[in-house]
């Protein structure tokens, strides 16, 4: 099995350590993982903003670039979801091989590798951020709206970490208000959603907010720092490699 690591543009530029953790995590599980260097972005920012045609060439290149791999794994649920749910339509007329094999790191470890043990240690209380596209497009957890059996793949993985205490906020999968350019165009509502969300995470008594999407974490961190709300943010991959 050969895995292509996809480190989305903003993780590449702003959170390289999340990419590093993801790579190390996969290597520690003896997975053959490679990082094709000509990768950039999945195209979601342009698509969500209403300029899908600008995302089209990116989808095609993404497909070609990752053609040699059995799986594409990304430390970003939203980007993986965009490839899976939107690339096929962007590439209309052509088959999109990336859609089915692109996964978020949590999904990949939980469903494909079926990790049952991890050597990580993280003796802290963490509040899980169930990001919208992770929940409702990738199915990382059962959406709170639905009457289906409860599950949460993020929590399943975090429970493997020694010393950790995992909690969820009230309204466990309400949007934090990032939404890509939504945060810019609807900045007032976005800010309010962010403040509400951060406060609910803080109310759990957790030291950290963790989730599979650096974009949500970036949004909430920016708001928490501006509003001086005391809580730290960390990507799931970083916890799963803590103490390795």
């Amino acid at each position: 099995m050969k895995v292509g690591l996809f480190v989305p543009c903003y993780v590449d530029a702003l959170y390289p350590e999340v990419g590093v953790s993801t790579y190390q995590l996969l290597r520690s599980l003896n997975i053959d993982v490679d990082y094709p260097e000509r990768q950039t972005c999945c195209g979601q920012p342009m698509g969500n903003a209403g300029f899908e045609h600008m995302a089209e060439p990116l989808a095609r290149k993404f497909d070609e670039l990752f053609a040699p791999y059995d799986y594409v794994v990304a430390p970003s649920a939203s980007c993986a979801a965009y490839v899976r749910c939107f690339h096929p339509n962007l590439m209309k007329g052509k088959s999109c091989s990336a859609a089915a094999k692109t996964m978020d790191i949590v999904e990949f470890l939980h469903d494909v590798i079926q990790v049952k043990r991890l050597p990580a240690k993280f003796p802290h209380k963490v509040s899980v951020h169930n990001s919208c596209h992770g929940v409702r497009e990738l199915g990382l957890s059962s959406p709170s709206e639905r009457n289906i059996p409860r599950f949460n793949k993020i929590i399943d993985l975090l429970q493997l970490v020694e010393g950790i205490e995992v909690v969820e906020p009230e309204r466990p999968d309400e949007c934090c208000g990032f939404g890509g350019m939504f945060a810019v165009e609807e900045q007032a509502v976005s800010r309010r959603m962010g403040i509400d969300k951060v406060k609910r995470h803080i109310a759990t008594g957790a030291e950290f907010v963790t989730g599979p999407d650096s974009s949500c974490l970036m949004h909430m961190q920016g708001i928490a720092e501006k509003e001086q709300l005391p809580i730290k943010f960390i990507h799931v991959a970083q916890i799963l490699t803590a103490g390795l």
């Binding site: 480190v7 543009c9 993780v11 590449d12 530029a13 702003l14 390289p16 990419g19 590093v20 790579y23 990082y35 260097e37 000509r38 990768q39 950039t40 972005c41 195209g43 920012p45 342009m46 969500n48 903003a49 209403g50 300029f51 899908e52 600008m54 990116l58 919208c132 409702r136 497009e137 959406p143 709206e145 639905r146 009457n147 289906i148 309204r171 999968d173 309400e174 949007c175 208000g177 939404g179 890509g180 350019m181 939504f182 945060a183 810019v184 165009e185 609807e186 900045q187 007032a188 509502v189 976005s190 800010r191 309010r192 959603m193 962010g194 509400d196 970036m218 949004h219 920016g222 720092e225």
Partner: protein, 483 residues
């Protein structure tokens, strides 16, 4: 540039306590709905079934409409067809004026809002009285509904009290009967007479205000020569019309006046009573978190000595049926669940939207009505997809918002800032060498804000503290074999 919605929403944030109250109120309705959903093991099957029934019906609409008309006519009902709002308003006016009607009582109908029926009738000198309590309050305050199911939930009781005192002519005499009316079998609540006869010390007391409204409306029911209702469902197999209310006002509106006019959008049709069983179980559970509405009224024909009319209204619905990307909106049964769950609606409230139906379904219906006029609502979505998951008929609401966004540029309604940012990103991302060079030559701080910073503004800094930029990107670390 920002949209009308984003500006109105920003103004709404000026009173954080109002936002909090609005958010909590409607999230509370969402939670009641969740409890109902979890109480039924077959919940998800019901949603699938409801979606399939609606799809079946609207894709065989012509046949079902004819069947419905035939059965209704056989039941002694007059059936009218209106192609658009003007035709609809004219038909209703003709019926009313030919019967010499001066006052009409009306139960809640979003279709009449859509067609501006009240304005039209009032221009012709016919008085229209809304009888749904929320709608009546708004009518007196000259406000539009802020939600399609709970239209006046945003109005505070102090304002309702003031409105009643100002606009109900016999307020004082109604108030003076309150103590006596309450004494009969009423719980022993302390009632201190205040300045106005027998009204309680707090003349904004909810129970008291409800009493005033009831007495006021009772008089309207007695005086009106015609009653109008909407239709939650039309049943093709029997020609029946089903109206769901919590106040019984549809029944009052049709039990006293001899003339009953039903206004029904053609998408409200379902095939038969087996289908009705599915929708009956979903409507109130989704809308208000009740197992069923307090009243579910089935109208089959005119009362003895009375007349019943049904006006079937198209007003753009046939065109939606032919719209490959947006036909699913016709499945909507107006339960309002998508509004209650929408984190943007809850924090910006109904009046921030420019179409009379707010929230996810309203964004889409507005665009279908007049895209140039209502494109300002398309920004009001973070694409969280919660609405898709509550919708009892599985309308793909968020996907449709995404699709509308793709059309804004060709409509000339794209946000220039978003366009510039998208262009900048696509230039960079489409050229891996340039992208890599940008990452390599300088930390992201030097090029990312170039994308973010436009017109001298940094929109990110509005709500956020600027992020710290790492010295090296992942790309760079990889190249240096430091991963």
């Amino acid at each position: 540039m920002s949209t009308i919605h984003s500006k109105a929403a920003e103004a709404y944030q000026q009173k954080p306590e109002v936002v909090e109250r609005h958010d909590k109120t409607f999230f509370g309705v969402r939670q009641k709905r969740d409890n109902m959903a979890r109480a039924l093991p077959e919940w998800e099957d019901l949603r699938t079934l409801a979606s399939q029934i609606k799809k079946h019906t609207i894709t065989h609409l012509a046949d079902y409409l004819e069947q419905f008309e035939q059965n209704a006519v056989r039941n002694g009902v007059h059936v009218h067809w209106a192609n658009d709002a003007d035709q609809y308003n004219a038909i209703v006016y003709d019926i009313l004026s030919s019967h010499g009607v001066k006052k009409v009582v009306k139960s809640k109908s979003m279709l009449t809002e859509e067609c501006h029926l009240n304005d039209s009738l009032e221009r012709h000198g016919i008085e229209v009285i809304e009888t749904d309590l929320g709608e009546r309050i708004l009518q007196m305050m000259k406000l539009a509904p802020s939600h399609i199911v709970m239209p006046a939930l945003h109005v505070h009781r102090e304002d309702i009290g003031a409105t009643f005192r100002r606009l109900i002519p016999n307020y004082a005499s109604i108030a003076s009967t309150y103590a006596a009316a309450n004494a009969v079998g009423a719980p022993a609540a302390p009632i201190a007479p205040s300045a106005v006869g027998g009204s309680p010390a707090d003349d904004n007391d909810p129970t008291f205000l409800t009493y005033v409204a009831r007495m006021h409306l009772r008089q309207q029911f007695m005086e009106a020569e015609a009653g109008m209702t909407g239709a939650n469902f039309g049943i093709a197999e029997t020609g029946d019309v089903v109206v769901c209310t919590n106040e019984g006002n549809a029944d009052m509106s049709t039990s006293i006046p001899k003339l009953h006019i039903v206004s029904m959008g053609i998408e409200k049709l379902i095939p038969n009573y087996a289908a009705m069983g599915v929708f009956q179980r979903l409507l109130a559970r989704n809308g208000t978190g009740q197992e069923t509405t307090v009243y579910t009224s089935h109208f089959r024909g005119p009362r003895p000595g009375g007349e019943m009319h049904i006006v079937l209204v198209d007003n753009g619905r046939s065109a939606i049926l032919g719209n490959e990307e947006h036909w699913q909106t016709l499945k909507c049964m107006r339960c309002g669940a998508c509004m209650n769950t929408c984190p943007v609606y809850r924090r910006s409230a109904g009046y921030s939207y420019t179409y009379f139906i707010p929230g996810p379904i309203g964004i889409n219906l507005g665009m279908l009505r007049a895209p140039l006029q209502y494109s300002d609502n398309v920004s009001a979505c973070s694409l969280c997809c919660s609405c898709d998951n509550v919708c009892p008929v599985q309308v793909d609401l968020s996907t449709q918002v995404y699709r509308w966004r793709q059309q804004l540029d060709s409509l000339g309604k794209a946000d220039p800032m978003k366009k510039t940012m998208s262009r900048g990103m696509s230039f960079l991302f489409d050229r891996p060498a340039v992208y890599k060079a940008a990452l390599w030559m300088s930390p992201a701080v030097n090029w990312l804000p170039a994308v973010l910073l436009n017109n001298g503004l940094n929109p990110w800094a509005y709500g956020h503290k600027m992020m710290k930029f790492p010295k090296k990107s992942f790309h760079q670390l990889w190249k240096e074999k430091k991963v």
